[in-house]
Symmetry: C2
Subunit: 282 residues, 2 copies
Amino acid sequence: MASQHPVAPGRIVAIGGAEDRTSDLEILRQVFALAPEGQDEVAVIATASSIPDEVLPDYEAAFSRLGASRVHSLAIRDRRQAAEAETVRRIEQSGVIFFTGGDQLRLTNVMGGSDTLTAIRNRLKAGAVVAGTSAGAAAMPGTMIYNGAAADALRKGAVNMTFGLGLVEGLIIDSHFLERGRFTRLMEVGATNPEYLGVGLGEDAAVIIHPNRVLEAIGPGHVILIDSRDLASSNIADLAMGEAVAIEHQVLHALVNGHGFDIEARRYLTADALSTTLADLR
Amino acid sequence: MASQHPVAPGRIVAIGGAEDRTSDLEILRQVFALAPEGQDEVAVIATASSIPDEVLPDYEAAFSRLGASRVHSLAIRDRRQAAEAETVRRIEQSGVIFFTGGDQLRLTNVMGGSDTLTAIRNRLKAGAVVAGTSAGAAAMPGTMIYNGAAADALRKGAVNMTFGLGLVEGLIIDSHFLERGRFTRLMEVGATNPEYLGVGLGEDAAVIIHPNRVLEAIGPGHVILIDSRDLASSNIADLAMGEAVAIEHQVLHALVNGHGFDIEARRYLTADALSTTLADLR
């Protein structure tokens, strides 16, 4: 089946938070390795973070260790800064663009419609890698979750959603997924519209979203998928706000490092199957 | 398909913890209503609890309000007490036997192989209702979970299991399920042996297990089912202890009050279908 959601040639890497930044750098190493040949500058965008001065030096050190010729530390606090030509220029120079964690609503509120975001989309189309952790991962799709206590989810309206950065379509991403028990959030989203794949990223785990819309799990943690495409029934449309949502039939997968998933075919890929699927791209 | 796990004529009610004990008593009311005609004494067993003197008066007040002619408050602290003829006699008089929360390992350690447990099994066979909340629910099946941090689960060996009270077979029960994000625990158990249905009880939610092996969800909370019968693959047998478990295809349901599930047929029952299925029993 041909995808209705073509993606750009560049890879997206969505990380569940708390990735190793000081030791083996397992995930960050793979992010950097995806940069196009000869494009070894990295732009780190800390807009989501309330403590950019604490976060940016960690990533600067990590990417420098990995071989970046230059790391552009971009705090980008407001919409004026997101429109600055100098910021756009730094994005255009970078083979890796990285969004830190923090608050995804701060990220979209500052970046939405900005020249910097347009530049990032263009870089992705040109083959650069765009990565993000925690809030920076959650914000990547066309629609994102920005609030909703896991313990109260599965009650109509408990999950707050809005437009994300629009870098990938057809799925929704949640982070800190196993650690904060967020299964109910993606279950509720799946009931509202079963077309969209729920991607729950554990800490120190990530997915690479390849141009052929194949997900590749990397890192020591888990990537949980909640696939609602074959949802049989739900009462959600009949409920008042706050009432308990019933769900009949969602499919659950747990991916580990080296396993994958074909989004369009809705097919789980064990290590061998993933290698075969990705061989065409290399 | 005929069940290979015939259950006794009495109902089992497994409650996810934190059920209302002072206001509407929604779940406890339904527990009491399941008692056989004319058998309105209740035995409350607080063996699992480390604070029986605080817990027992609450249940005594609640069941008295609901119309119990007598509430037997049984702390049962050790194996000697679990063997006492007087305790056995109180169980034999009761139409409802109720296990409080606490530590399920304390419950099985004290009750396993005791005359009191034999008496409870005989009461269930004779049509009495056996209910339990939290640890008292988790301990009901032939096999139970007694430890395993949800955030660390889905790593081989992270979930500790042992024999339960053996009152129902073919499933495993976890409590405080949505509130403590315990999805990973039942996912791991399902990967170890896909035959057994995972039943995750939210707080102030419960399932009635009917004699025809149909589950009926009651209460304001959710009952989550993780059905691994059609598990496609998992790496669990190949892993070293502590390594990340991969899972391809488990089926997830969220039941609300009045919805049900046929364990043998592995069939979700919306309210109308459940009524039809249960009509034969009434």
